[in-house]
Subunit: 222 residues, 2 copies
Amino acid sequence: MTTLAPSKSEQAYELLHERIAKGELVPGYRLVLGTIAAELGCSTVPVREAIRRLEAEGLVTFERNIGATVAAVDAELYLHTMETLAVIEGAATALAAPLLSAVDMAEARAINAELRRCLEDFDPPRFTQLNDRFHAVLYERCPNPHILDLVHRGWNRLNAMRASSFSHIPGRARSSVEEHEQLLDLIDAGASTSEVEKAARAHRTNTLNAYLAADGMPPSPL
Amino acid sequence: MTTLAPSKSEQAYELLHERIAKGELVPGYRLVLGTIAAELGCSTVPVREAIRRLEAEGLVTFERNIGATVAAVDAELYLHTMETLAVIEGAATALAAPLLSAVDMAEARAINAELRRCLEDFDPPRFTQLNDRFHAVLYERCPNPHILDLVHRGWNRLNAMRASSFSHIPGRARSSVEEHEQLLDLIDAGASTSEVEKAARAHRTNTLNAYLAADGMPPSPL
DNA sequence: AAGTACGAAATCGTATACGATCTATCATCG
DNA sequence: CGATGATAGATCGTATACGATTTCGTACTT
């Protein structure tokens, strides 16, 4: 039994998803069915399906008789996404915490050590990549598949948006690394679920609030 | 300018969504593209799109070269969904609380009074309907559209599952009405966001834990 | 009788085709 | 000159058609 080739709609989905995540397709970019189909060497039908999927994930908007465009990102949307992820990832991390093995914790600490090194070398792309991985280790063991799925979607959106270059907050990366360490210590100390949730959420709302403050807006109430 | 007729794929989506929510299509039911298409008097293409959308919402599963079935619901899935909704709706309600008008609060109190009456008359379908509406009033003003969207999806799933008759926990409806009252009092008293979130979440985890306890399982750590 | 091989029917995946709708361009009119 | 309306081109929405894959029943083998 040979492994089944990926369907055209899968291919289209992967292609578009990757391009959006990489920022090759900037927000507002018009996705023309025929053009994408031609590029992939397939008809428009599977492309439509792929776009519907991306729409469901919030990466593109699709209007009747108008077409699809890469979802526009304004500051408000970006911040709303961060806030949502704060809630979801906080819960995911809290639920996963009791299930983390010693190996998991060691991996997290190792990644955070790498992150610290990135600060010295000033390597933002690598920092972002490692940061994502760090968080993944902490929430991946979450036993609730729905919550896990929502975390993934949140990260997808955030990555797609991040590509459209939001300015970084100076000094935030450094405090982020410190917060990682504290979070790991908290888990190692056997903190309660609600304590872990609080800390994990705060880690994210701190970033969010830094952005809000930079815009002269009040912090998130969460 | 006449209003545009809903597209076939919209129609298919609405139809299937409604039938699943109403429980006419039980979990595990096989959705055959051709059959649905014939019933709607359209081709299979728009039906595929509709099913993809339902898949993205978790209401159906769709496997390559196999087809779509209404998502099977086991107790575990149901409970995971409730847990997720506890987190999301808790946040939504907390964020909405400061934005509730006096009219909103009055409506919520009125609905809860109705709920209380339903207890006497023993009218479960009406109770469920009013209960949904009560919660909607409390979270609808949530200023974060993502969170609001997730709440809606969560309710959709829960309603679809609920149809497949999960046994009700005796006495839970009554305490639920009391908790509603307490939640409203808390908001009226100008409680902090985190207090409201805690209460709103607890309201849901209480139900969840009642189910878990009935199955002899430990309560959710959230 | 249980298991396997094969063929037919059912169903899915997608290419093609064409009408419907939107957008842009340009002529016409006030 | 600006507004309005008509026309052409682009793009979308969906019907139809057909090859690909799976499923199921039946005959055959051990």
